[in-house]
Symmetry: C2
Subunit: 441 residues, 2 copies
């Protein structure tokens, strides 16, 4: 197609190029007109002077956010514009065409740097909101993050699965479940791939991963909850304990963060003010009791609840950051009482499970565990939790014909992005957000 991307202009000085993009801004002066042209790779300045009458008279009339095609020679920039990403060069326009004209009234602004538009309105016009280079960058980072995750898995012999999202029975608790009208039956949307990634262990796949949507009929309006999100799931066989899962997860994260730092470290620093640092191995590990004690030692109140409160998650991350200079902390030895029936209990202390959470900068991004793979023990645990055996029977069957010891974890994509980029709301990093009130766009 012979098009030049904006971040390639620097290699084409003196050449005539054709650049397609959006009209980010227009500055209309008496003898010269400046167009800031934006494409996915950056923003460049394009100029036209009044000696090119045809272009000069028309270009400033093109509404902002229209899509245009510009032809011209790449020259050294005379006046540097601080809003462009390619500061040293500009395009001297000799010709342009409008590919798609925008309405003159934009419902939200794209080029404003200090955007004060209400988040809800921005989400109503998400397709315009995502044009902001800062928002597009989030999804470029997400792309590189997932690619690095998959590289690590594939290099370590993992098999990718796509587990069904339509289920005949509730996947875990039965709460917060979406019901689907399935011909003359009822189906449920999967709340996690849990049962199926464990099935893959019974199938002898040994190591699997999945990145896919999960659904939770969650009524809350917090900054970290939604009704649909992207879950990143891992399950591994032939482990000795959940310690093997933690060891895997921390090495995987080091690989991913190293890759992201190489590729986007500079942009992350410039745009989000975050100095991405590759975490040291091993990540700190604390029992729930140790967490309680450490919070108490700082003179703060401790809930002594069976799970950490969001406030306690923030506090312990702060303490760990000060004490160990680490953004991550594994918390383990949670009571069996609050954990799902398929977690394995600790042989030495059956009151706790062989499970763990991972906190990153104050927010839980992972829950993981060694699973109970012994049919009889698992059946008893299901009974002890008071589950409807009819609805977990299909799952229990997976353990009847030989199933290796195994464990795994789930990792929240959007939570990880906000932890990493120091953002405060998963709505900012979700392509098209869903909650109780939002089904559109």
């Amino acid at each position: 197609m012979g098009l030049t991307k904006i971040n390639e202009l620097k290699n084409k000085v003196g050449e005539r190029v054709v650049v397609n993009g959006w009209v980010h801004e227009t500055r209309d002066q008496s003898k010269i007109k400046f167009i800031l042209l934006r494409d996915v790779s950056g923003i460049a300045q394009a100029i036209v002077t009044d000696d090119n009458k045809a272009v000069f008279d028309n270009i400033a009339r093109v509404p902002r956010e229209s899509v245009i095609s510009v032809g011209g020679v790449v020259k050294a920039a005379k006046i540097t514009n601080k809003d462009v990403t390619e500061r040293d060069f500009e395009v001297s326009i000799d010709k342009f065409t409008v590919l798609s004209q925008a309405d003159t009234q934009l419902p939200i602004q794209v080029s404003e740097k200090n955007d004060t538009t209400d988040l809800s309105k921005r989400l109503d016009y998400r397709w315009l909101d995502l044009r902001k280079p800062r928002n597009a960058l989030i999804f470029k980072i997400q792309t590189a993050m997932e690619m690095a995750m998959r590289e690590y898995w594939v290099n370590n012999g993992f098999i990718e699965i796509h587990s069904p999202k339509l289920m005949g029975f509730a996947s875990e608790s039965g709460a917060e479940l979406f019901s689907v009208s399935y011909f003359d039956k009822e189906a449920f949307l999967a709340q996690s791939p849990q049962f199926y990634k464990q099935m893959a262990m019974a199938s002898g796949f040994e190591r699997v991963f999945e990145i896919g949507p999960v659904f939770r009929a969650n009524q809350s309006h917090t900054t970290r909850h939604d009704t649909e999100f992207t879950s990143i799931d891992v399950e591994m066989s032939f482990i000795d304990s959940h310690e093997d899962i933690m060891k895997f997860e921390e090495r995987w994260l080091v690989y991913v963060i190293e890759k992201l730092k190489d590729r986007y470290g500079k942009e992350i620093k410039e745009t989000f003010g975050v100095d991405l640092s590759v975490p040291k191995l091993p990540f700190p590990r604390l029992s729930l009791e140790e967490v309680h004690n450490m919070i108490k030692e700082t003179g703060r109140d401790v809930s002594y609840e069976e799970d950490l409160t969001p406030e306690e998650e923030r506090i312990i991350s702060k303490i760990v950051k000060e004490k160990y200079n680490h953004e991550f902390v594994f918390v383990k030895e949670f009571p069996w009482k609050i954990k799902p029936f398929y977690h394995m209990r600790d042989e030495k202390n059956p009151k706790v499970t062989k499970g763990f959470d991972l906190l990153w900068n104050g927010l839980e991004v992972t829950t993981g565990a060694q699973r109970e793979h012994r049919y009889d023990v698992l059946l008893n645990q299901a009974k002890e939790k008071g589950l409807n055996l009819g609805s977990v029977n299909f799952f229990l069957n997976f353990f009847k014909y030989g199933c290796p010891p195994h464990g795994g974890f789930g990792f929240g994509l959007t939570r990880a992005l906000i932890c990493m980029l120091n953002l405060s709301n998963v709505r900012e990093v979700t392509f098209v957000f869903r909650d109780i009130d939002r089904l559109i766009p």
Copy 2:
């Protein structure tokens, strides 16, 4: 954990190893017992003679498909067993433990080579069915296939998206739609990411991909339909026509098939009898009219319907294979009448769209098109198709504020796998299959 995988035994001759795996088969002779041990990487023979009384007396009693851990020295094999993948070496067992004992009655057999078990029963016990090395291989190939696809996209500047599966309105026709009870409202499951990948074009992402589930309330029981499947989606901006999309797709497939041939060509040949060949560029392109004429020339009946019948898809692929020695063929110039409202019509012949199908060995694996990005034209096309404008209005809005010319395609993962491996049923290549009758496991 110090474990050795079966495909690593060849590097450990003379060493003592620990291998974990499933008891694939047991042969019990008076002086020697043979265990075929299977893990995700292969099958090896392990032997024990009667001078190791403790092991000898117990190991043959372990039911097939139990999971065991075996310790012993790797030696040159005395008797080669044709069922193992590592033929030259065996493990001389000195110790073993049972990690998970299987029921003695297996509902389906895993180690039988000529499996005549009814497919439906195999799917009831899918977790056992997937233990067959042939079936596990399908998912290893799938993993490598998707990884190669993503490499090509990421190397070409694509952004990954996760579009919402819960929608406020029907995504395309309104037919075959699953309804979800969404708090006090109704939601629908996405039949494709179509509207959202086009939204990403309006967002200036320029090139996007998604691999994710789609849902169709399809009542048929054919070998190629299901109610949930994995869709592979691509959308690209600043194209001149659908020809640019076809050019992209054929290069992408060449990259993917090259990678698969390198990694799994040998196994695909041995297991499925298929000699994977990298297709020549460009792929043949035929108009629907040319397809009709070519079928007619062979003396066969032509339906002259507006779409190819499954039988005609098989015939034209056969003709193309004979005439051009090519497994792929693009078919284009389908009537506007049968295509969705968002396809762009051909300026020279508005009766047809700028869309195409891609057939691979007789089966349609792709539908693609340049999309109509002009708001007014798109609105008229929606009206002409008699759509409920209320339910597509949120989509039409994407085109009001500047949207580049764009197009893309959808690609069916399971269809591609059966075309490539010469299989006849998508049930064989779906991890856990869903149709009108099947919601379990």
